[in-house]
């Protein structure tokens, strides 16, 4: 495992990491500080970095007078369901495209990509009647279906690529052991591509977490608002609730951060190298 890392000078490593962290977190730090400010501090000149008076009003309003926690719950449900459903569809598809022979495979693969060519905003009008006739409107399940359809093509590609990296001898060995194909995927191949599955899951979760257009179109009642739609309601025509927007942004980042910290371990998996070495 260790030999796979390119050793870097520690100083350079930390310099780069620090730079990256400042860039990545800068807006969030500003968001966090802003969420504690009172309105007279918001736009003081010269720029006031720290609040003169630390206030929790933004969070009190956010939780007390907006349904933000429900937005978060909705987003989590949609993200979790979409992830499970997409993986159930994309793992078999990725496997078959990696291992079986298809005539015109490049065509199938490019069709998958071409599903992403169109600006989604122009698909809404045609999608709406389908969603309505199948009863998938105004509930979160409809969102899960649409999201799954949109994330599956890339997930298939990704997982196919990870299957491609597994030497064919592993398949052969499993078959000699008497595994059928499904058992082989489940017990032998999947564990090897755990990092790939985790990366795909991260992509799916984040897509579902950030998606706005379908959410506002197909699930736009206060009951089914997700986080992005909820955040956008804080930007009114005549009122701009910076406190709710920043407070909401910070709050919404917490579950995502926890999610990342849980999965990052799995993203780096010693399985492959360790096992193949035996």
């Amino acid at each position: 495992m260790a030999n796979k890392r390119v050793p870097l000078n520690r100083v350079v490593l930390w310099l780069l990491l620090t730079g990256w962290l400042i860039f990545a977190l800068g807006p969030y730090i500003w968001m966090l500080l802003t969420s504690f400010k009172t309105s007279s501090d918001l736009f003081a000149m010269p720029v006031r970095y720290l609040p003169t008076k630390w206030s929790l009003d933004a969070y009190r309003d956010l939780i007390g007078s907006t349904p933000f926690l429900r937005f978060m719950k909705n987003s989590m449900i949609v993200a979790a369901c979409t992830t499970v459903l997409t993986l159930l569809l994309a793992v078999p598809a990725g496997f078959t495209l990696s291992r079986h022979h298809y005539r015109g495979k490049p065509v199938i693969l490019s069709l998958l990509i071409s599903s992403q060519f169109f600006p989604t905003i122009l698909l809404v009008l045609a999608l709406f009647p389908i969603m309505k006739s199948t009863g998938l409107i105004q509930n979160l399940f409809g969102l899960v279906i649409v999201y799954t359809a949109f994330v599956t093509p890339f997930t298939i590609w990704l997982i196919k690529g990870f299957f491609d990296n597994i030497p064919k001898e592993v398949d052969e060995a499993a078959k000699i052991d008497g595994c059928n194909e499904i058992r082989m995927i489940w017990h032998v191949l999947l564990p090897v591509i755990v990092p790939g599955i985790v990366a795909a899951a991260a992509y799916i979760v984040i897509y579902s977490w950030n998606e706005f257009l379908f959410a506002v179109t197909f699930a736009s009642s206060a009951e089914t608002h997700t986080v992005p739609v909820g955040l956008k309601t804080f930007i009114g025509d005549y009122v701009m609730r910076w406190d709710l927007l920043t407070g909401g942004g910070v709050t919404a980042a917490v579950p995502i951060l926890v999610f990342f910290m849980i999965i990052q371990r799995r993203l780096i998996s010693g399985l492959t190298s360790g096992a193949v070495k035996s």
Binding site: P27, H100, L127
Partner: protein, 309 residues
């Protein structure tokens, strides 16, 4: 560890033929869903591009290719086309470069690695509207944070109106998109590094190659398929991504950030010329198709498209 495994395995070839029709069952559910939810609306939209259609009226008139001709002879749309090209190339290039660097960094051993990995990924999970609003504030030309910091350091004397001048508006939007997009590449490439059999590196090391050389010669080529697919999809997504323009610049100043999807959105929803809007989207899809086909050809030449070939 005497016989390193390689990916160039021919042994499986014969058995592959045997699977027959059952292999389609693996693909079918995913294919049905994609066709139903994405394929059908795309076809519908493309058909609409041949009509004059106001979404508020129920009637539509067949006009053939008139929408395409009209759109292509509109100088604003041509501007949008070149803006889109600049936008896509700029965003994706920097994301790939920094994403690759990020993946290498996150793969190192260092204290607090778990937390830092989580933190660096956060921009990716930021809803567009939030990212747009916060960056708009940071980049503001009067009370913005970036100008304040640059002035305090002494790099500039007067604040720069980043998003308010034609020369810097597009670059500002790219900055936001790159901010959001680096973690995507970092995660995908980090994952790709992990599934590379370790003994390949061992083999490279036995040959006496240095670590960096081993990375470029052995690890990088194996990451290439993932890199290429993540890149091509990012190109496609970036071309259609207009949330930032909608919030930050509305395509301005003076059309400098107007891209094809934004132009088609305006055409559809404020001008109520839906047929022309879908024609714009159709042109964009055609251009992307050309890019993707060229790209896939490149990929299959490099053997990235199909295992073992």
């Amino acid at each position: 560890m005497n016989e390193p495994l390689t990916v160039h395995v021919k042994a499986g070839e014969k058995k592959r033929k045997r699977t027959g029709l059952s292999k389609y069952l693996y693909l079918l559910p995913a294919a049905l869903l994609i066709v139903g939810v994405i394929g059908y609306p795309i076809v519908r939209a493309l058909i609409l591009s041949l009509y004059a259609y106001n979404p508020l009226n129920s009637g539509k008139t067949f006009v053939g290719l008139k929408n395409y001709v009209g759109v292509l002879s509109d100088s604003t749309f041509l501007k949008a086309m070149s803006n889109t090209a600049i936008w896509v190339v700029g965003c994706v290039f920097f994301q790939v470069v920094f994403g690759l660097l990020g993946a290498v960094l996150l793969n190192q051993n260092f204290r607090g690695r778990g937390v830092i990995r989580g933190l660096t990924l956060i921009p990716w999970a930021t809803p567009s509207v939030l990212a747009a609003m916060m960056w708009m504030w940071i980049l503001d030309g009067n009370y913005g944070l970036l100008n304040d910091i640059l002035m305090r350091i002494g790099l500039i004397v007067h604040p720069i109106p980043w998003i308010s001048q034609t020369g810097t508006a597009m670059a500002s939007l790219m900055l936001i998109d790159v901010w959001q997009g680096i973690p995507y590449f970092a995660v995908m490439l980090l994952a790709a590094m992990q599934t590379i059999p370790g003994d390949l590196l061992e083999a490279a090391k036995l040959d006496g190659a240095g670590a960096w050389k081993a990375f470029w010669k052995v690890v990088f080529p194996l990451m290439l398929p993932t890199l290429m697919i993540t890149t091509i999809l990012r190109i496609v997504w970036t071309a259609s991504y207009m949330d930032l323009m909608m919030v930050v610049t509305q395509g301005g100043p003076a059309y400098s950030t107007l891209t094809i999807p934004l132009a088609s959105y305006y055409r559809a929803y404020t001008d109520l010329k839906y047929g022309e809007a879908t024609a714009m989207a159709g042109i964009q899809a055609l251009l992307l198709l050309i890019v993707v086909v060229l790209y896939l050809r490149l990929m299959s030449n490099k053997g990235a498209l199909d295992n073992g070939k």
